[in-house]
């Protein structure tokens, strides 16, 4: 049952990922990307990491992709996509992309992934209580540093978006 759901979800993920890079229309790409994020969340649920799944939906599928869609709708991208007709650009892009893909596959093959022992495996590993206790005890410093980073990013965004003196707002 779990295995079959894994296959179904994987097909959806790959379909979404391929659609993202292969569709001509930028809006369609964004919608395929949303599908990809959604099926990735389904993968997290299959791994019993419900909190990660929910946060992935809230942050990526819910907030970031809405902004993507928002920006793409304002731009008229169809007129600016002339590079796609240029063969040299296409060949160069394929070579670069293929090389990066090859390096990634090689890295994954070399990575030593520890096998999960089904007898000592804790079902609650991905649950929010466990995660919260770990974040606030063992990984407290990295966690706080990340929050400072977010605060800086937020302040920077506000600074960039602020109206300068004398500048008209519309």
């Amino acid at each position: 049952m779990t295995q079959w759901s894994f296959y179904v979800v994987s097909i959806f993920t790959l379909f979404g990922a391929l659609g993202t890079i292969m569709s001509k229309n930028a809006i369609h790409s964004v919608i395929y990307l949303i599908l990809t994020f959604f099926s990735l969340s389904a993968h997290y649920v299959l791994l019993n990491a419900q909190f990660l799944a929910a946060v992935n939906i809230v942050v990526y599928a819910g907030a970031i992709m809405v902004l993507f869609l928002f920006v793409v709708m304002f731009l008229n991208i169809r007129d600016e996509a002339s590079e796609l007709n240029n063969n040299k650009v296409m060949i160069a892009a394929s070579i670069v992309g293929g090389t990066i893909g090859l390096i990634l596959v090689a890295a994954i093959r070399l990575t030593d992934i520890p096998r999960v022992n089904p007898y000592t495996y804790q079902v609650k590993t991905g649950f929010i209580e466990t995660l919260g206790k770990l974040l606030y005890s063992k990984y407290l410093l990295p966690f706080e540093l990340v929050s400072v980073l977010f605060l800086i990013a937020m302040t920077g965004a506000v600074m960039l978006g602020k109206r300068e003196k004398g500048e008209r707002n519309f």
Binding site: N25, I27, H28, I31, I34, Q50, F51, A53, A54, V55, I57, V58, A61, G62, A63, V66, L67, L69, F70, M73, F74, F127, I128, E129
Partner: protein, 380 residues
């Protein structure tokens, strides 16, 4: 296993059917209440008291021409209303509609699924809800629809922040994300509305905005944008958009009742439980008191639905900059203040007292500030 599975499926089907039925009859009651407020008669032609009006409306919408504009993006045009309806219906999966049913010695929860991330699920689905409007508005290939869609997106994103912050205060009180645990922690009249009056008001305002209800219905304001994102829609596609708004209203009333009004808790429920189990036996008594809790929960939901309608026919619509000012400069700072007060109150050990003292101090400070420095009118 089998009977448990069947009962669980029946509960899920029942929740689904009930949310659709209630949404259908909300359209009827909206007209009746509007008529009452505006001193009119309201729908009274279809059936006794006009009770068949929703069926007549649905029939009319189904038999209208299903039209897709020539320059529209056909698939996305169809996807828009489907997504709006889908996301509206998904939230009810985690809401605890009642305590539990005892059957065959097993306890079956009156809830779609009991997960430990309940409220995050609600929040995630709410944040997906905007896609239906955004995609539909863009696919129509009409600038008014696009304006409406973009207004809807920016409004939903802005009000989600304040909503999330006011939810966090509730989570601190219950110290769990599971909606059932939140409800159980409010047992014995410890309703969160008494501890979180400010959080309740913020959450209520944000849920009005998330449902695109008046005074926040700018995405479809007819005098500026014709009809906003659903200008190009007709037939049942328009019906699905309008219907999803009513489903959203039902679900958000349920979420408010769960988070702040104690869900299926009611005063004297322990006495009712004791009397029921004494007179009807342990199993039947338990099930009957579950039924009573569910009925109370629905009464709370109906009260909030009435509030939604009352506000719609009482308040005028905001201007767009007022809407953004209220969200970013009003509700978010208030939600953060509420968060700090709640944290202090939880740590002090006297949650109720310190919450009210904190709120009083905050209001006094605001008054003092505006008395000393207050020559400028605030944007609110």
């Amino acid at each position: 296993m089998d009977s448990v599975f069947i009962i669980k499926s029946l509960i899920i089907l029942g929740i689904f059917a009930i949310s659709l039925t209630i949404a259908a009859y909300e359209t009827y009651f909206e007209r009746v209440i509007a008529a009452f407020i505006q001193d009119r008669v309201g729908p009274d032609r279809a059936g006794p008291f006009g009770l068949l009006q929703p069926l007549a409306d649905a029939g009319k919408l189904f038999f209208k021409e299903d039209f897709i504009p020539g320059m529209a993006d056909k698939w996305l045009f169809i996807l828009g209303p489907s997504l709006a309806m889908l996301t509206a219906l998904m939230t009810s999966a985690v809401i605890p509609f009642g305590d539990s049913i005892l059957y065959d010695g097993q306890e079956i929860l009156v809830q779609g699924i009991e997960v430990n991330i309940g409220i995050l699920w609600v929040f995630g689905v709410v944040s997906l809800g905007v896609y239906g409007i955004l995609i539909g508005g863009w696919a129509s290939n009409n600038k008014y629809s696009l304006y409406g869609a973009i207004r809807a997106a920016s409004q939903n994103i802005s009000y989600e922040l304040a909503m999330g912050l006011s939810i966090i205060a509730v989570l601190m009180m219950a110290s769990s994300l599971s909606l059932r645990t939140i409800v159980e922690s409010q047992h014995g009249m410890n309703w969160n509305i008494f501890y979180q009056p400010l959080g309740f008001i913020i959450f209520l305002t944000c849920s009005f905005a998330e449902c695109n209800r008046t005074p926040f219905d700018l995405p479809e304001s007819e005098n500026e944008l014709v009809a906003g994102y659903h200008t190009e829609y007709g037939s049942m596609k328009l019906g699905l958009y309008l219907f999803s708004e009513y489903v959203n209203m039902f679900i958000s009333s349920a979420v408010i009742a769960t988070l702040f009004l104690g869900g299926f808790n009611y005063p004297g429920m322990d006495w009712v439980y004791a009397t029921m189990t004494e007179n009807f036996g342990a199993v039947v008594g338990h099930n009957l008191s579950t039924l009573a809790g569910t009925l109370v929960f629905f009464a709370k939901i109906f009260a909030f639905i009435f509030l939604f309608m009352w506000v719609r026919w009482t308040l005028p619509r905001f201007r767009y900059d007022q809407l953004m000012d209220l969200g970013w400069k009003g509700l978010i700072p208030l939600a953060i203040v509420n968060l700090i007060i709640t944290a202090a109150a939880e740590l002090s050990g006297h949650a109720l007292l310190v919450n009210w003292i904190g709120l009083g101090v905050f209001i006094a400070l605001v008054y003092a500030w505006s008395a000393i420095f207050g020559t400028k009118k605030t944007s609110l």
